[in-house]
């Protein structure tokens, strides 16, 4: 594996201009089309977007799990596991290669929305946990079991020793999700990629899982990349936020800035469209007009311009916006923004 020096040694994962295209019979779908973001060590980045924004496809590209007819066609995914500043470009590795498999699982753990689809129906929870433990440590059968039971206990599963020998379908939805987290964490990964892990759960169960992820993070110092469409969840757990629209990161900022001083009109509009649990009833919601365009009919210029409340004719539909650094650590792809002087000088 070729090692590349990182610019910023505190960055665990640096994604630049990542592109995943799907080559279908009807044409090419540019599901991810130049997405860039960083995740600092020990922090949580939330990737938010509506359906069709490419957030899950992007996560799969980072994990080397892009499914045909999709293919990563460009960009880099710099993975820098140690603080020596030497990184590997995961985008250059084949998804099934030995090198990738040594990273996916032991180094980068994953949890998905549907634990039932991700858990094997014909293997016990224990068998699947053991695989995860052994990907990291060469230990005896007995110790594998002990570590597996310990992992189940750590994610708050009652009677972990009994659960170890059960199957996924014998557990409730919340417990399955906990079991999946236990599997991902038994390998002690440096990065946990969570793709909508709480979307299918009830709110009280969701609250428990979010608390669990936060607790485990502060305990182990792992980095988290959390993909969700729920802005409430983002506000609960994120350190920083990347907002995606039609395959691109249109805004990235720390969580407070993203919610209270967003720079991109799309982020602003999304926040305003949410019904508030504090508000009185009867008001109309500030809906975003129109809908996410079909991937074959991507609008020219800024892809958001047909729905944008700040649309400026003659500008927005003519040029593709570049990322504008608004402040240190805060950028947005919008033609109406002026770069902050200090940040622009960097």
């Amino acid at each position: 594996m070729r090692q590349i020096p990182m610019r910023e040694p505190d960055t665990l994962l640096e994604v630049r201009d990542l592109a995943t295209h799907f080559f279908t019979d009807e044409g090419v779908v540019r599901a991810v089309d130049g997405a860039s973001f960083d995740i600092p060590r020990g922090k949580t980045l939330c990737i938010v977007g509506e359906s069709g924004s490419g957030k899950s496809v992007m996560a799969r590209a980072v994990m080397g799990l892009t499914r045909a007819p999709g293919r990563v066609v460009g960009g880099s995914v710099l993975w820098c596991p140690d603080q020596d500043g030497q990184a590997t470009d995961l985008a250059t590795l084949h998804g099934n290669s030995r090198a990738y498999r040594a990273i996916r699982g032991p180094e980068i753990g994953m949890i998905f929305q549907e634990p039932m689809a991700a858990l094997s129906p014909v293997h016990t929870i224990g068998t699947q946990l053991a695989e995860s433990v052994r990907s990291r440590h060469a230990v005896s059968k007995r110790e594998t079991r002990e570590r597996g039971i310990e992992a189940l206990a750590r994610v708050g599963i009652p009677e972990p020793a009994a659960r170890y020998d059960q199957y996924g379908f014998e557990l409730s939805g919340g417990m399955r999700q906990r079991a999946m987290i236990a599997m991902a964490l038994a390998a002690e990964p440096k990065l946990l990629i969570a793709d909508e892990p709480t979307t299918a759960l009830d709110v009280t169960t969701q609250a428990g899982i979010l608390d669990l992820i936060l607790d485990l993070q502060s305990e182990t110092g792992m980095t988290v990349m959390f993909i969700t469409h729920d802005l409430g969840v983002v506000a609960e757990i994120a350190d920083s936020v990347a907002v995606m629209y039609l395959g691109r990161v249109v805004e990235h900022a720390d969580v407070d800035t993203a919610f209270h001083a967003p720079a991109h009109p799309y982020t602003e509009a999304l926040l305003r469209a949410l019904p508030s649990i504090h508000a009185k009833t009867g008001e109309r919601l500030a809906a975003i007009p129109g809908m996410v365009p079909h991937p074959f009919a991507r609008p020219a210029g800024c892809a958001f311009h047909p729905r944008c409340h700040r649309f400026r004719p003659g500008l927005c539909e003519t040029r593709e916006p570049e990322n504008v650094p608004v402040a240190p650590g805060h950028g947005a792809r919008c033609l109406l923004l002026k770069p902050a002087r200090k940040a622009a000088a960097e």
Partner: protein
């Protein structure tokens, strides 16, 4: 707002788990999906039913729609002509006539539209089946309905696959409106939609409500949506109604510990609140409707439970302007969502 449209009294829907069999003498276990639920819906109001999966809210909606028969209880519905009928006892033509006034919108816009039918056939089906309109008249009516829900009338001959999720939901809404209903049962009608489309759909529903004077039974799990759309809210837990109150009252001062726990679990899109918030962590999991706990079904998870909660089943009774089924409803000082917001300041 004064006249009742629908009165539900002691409604039960129990499912036996397997038949008694030839040799099996033991009593068959029963799933109490809906257990002695009573409430009213006044004409023109929006009543929301909230609760987590398995609480029986969908079963309740389906029972009103007579997708399956009720085990016991009454569903008194006041028809447009003023006559009162029990939906549970109607059948044949009488049921069909009553159900002309009660229509349903479903959660999954993909699963609830026949992919082989064009929009004209989907939206026009209730008109055709009831011989209300045919041919050109039917097309004209369907085109009108499409316009009402914000779709272009030219889309008449397209098939569901040609529409996005939000548009499909609008087709489902147009179909529900085809027979000029009075009561609409919306089962998680906006849950599968993206934020931007969800806001559009909620606005559409409230526009249609004021234009046609509709009454809504809104079944949902998202408390922010519920707060936005409802006049009153009913909270269900394991087949029973645990609280029923005006929206404002319920959200500012809940009377049932389960309502408080639900509210404290909702993620709120404001990062400043997460440090300020006190979250109630519920122990254990939702009880099973097959073998629900003794006394109050919520007692094993309730932070305020005492002896009486283990022993006696609490009845729904008037408390602070609403109804609550908790032995300690009068004495508990429970926190609503406004409390959370104040905590941040």
């Amino acid at each position: 707002m004064t006249e009742m449209l629908l009165e539900i009294r002691d409604l039960c829907k129990h499912y036996p788990l397997g038949g008694p069999g030839l040799l099996r003498r033991r009593a068959v276990p029963v799933v109490r999906a809906v257990d002695r639920v009573s409430f009213d819906i006044a004409e023109g109001e929006t009543l929301s039913l909230v609760g987590e999966s398995g609480c029986g809210k969908t079963t309740l909606g389906k029972t009103i729609m007579r997708a399956h028969p009720a085990t016991s209880g009454e569903m008194r519905y006041r028809r447009a002509d003023g006559s009162i009928v029990d939906l549970g006892r109607l059948d044949g033509a009488a049921l069909k006539a009553a159900h002309r006034e009660i229509r349903m919108i479903f959660q999954d816009p993909n699963g609830s539209l026949n992919p082989r039918l064009s929009v004209r056939d989907i939206v026009g089906e209730p008109l055709r089946v009831r011989r209300i309109a045919q041919g050109a008249a039917l097309e004209k009516r369907v085109a009108e309905l499409l316009e009402k829900v914000g779709l272009r009338p030219e889309y008449l001959h397209r098939y569901p696959h040609a529409f996005s999720g939000g548009e499909r939901q609008r087709i489902g809404i147009a179909r529900a409106l085809a027979l000029d209903p009075r009561l609409v049962v919306a089962d998680e009608a906006v849950s599968a939609l993206d934020v931007s489309i969800q806001a559009q759909t909620l606005n559409l529903l409230s526009d249609l409500k004021s234009e046609f004077g509709l009454t809504f039974l809104f079944i949902a799990h998202d408390l922010s949506v519920v707060r936005h759309i409802s006049d009153r809210v009913a909270v269900m837990y394991v087949g029973r109604m645990v609280e029923l109150a005006k929206t404002e009252a319920l959200f500012t001062r809940p009377r049932h510990p389960y309502t408080e726990a639900l509210m404290s679990s909702v993620p709120i899109p404001d990062p400043r609140l997460r440090r300020a918030r006190k979250r109630i962590r519920l122990a254990g999991e939702v009880a099973s409707p097959i073998n629900s706990p003794s006394g109050c079904a919520f007692h094993p998870r309730c932070p305020y439970a005492t002896e009486i909660c283990v022993r006696d089943v609490p009845q729904l009774r008037p408390t602070g302007g609403g109804l609550a089924a908790c032995h300690h409803a009068e004495t508990l000082e429970l926190a609503g969502v406004s409390h959370i917001a104040e905590g941040a300041e």
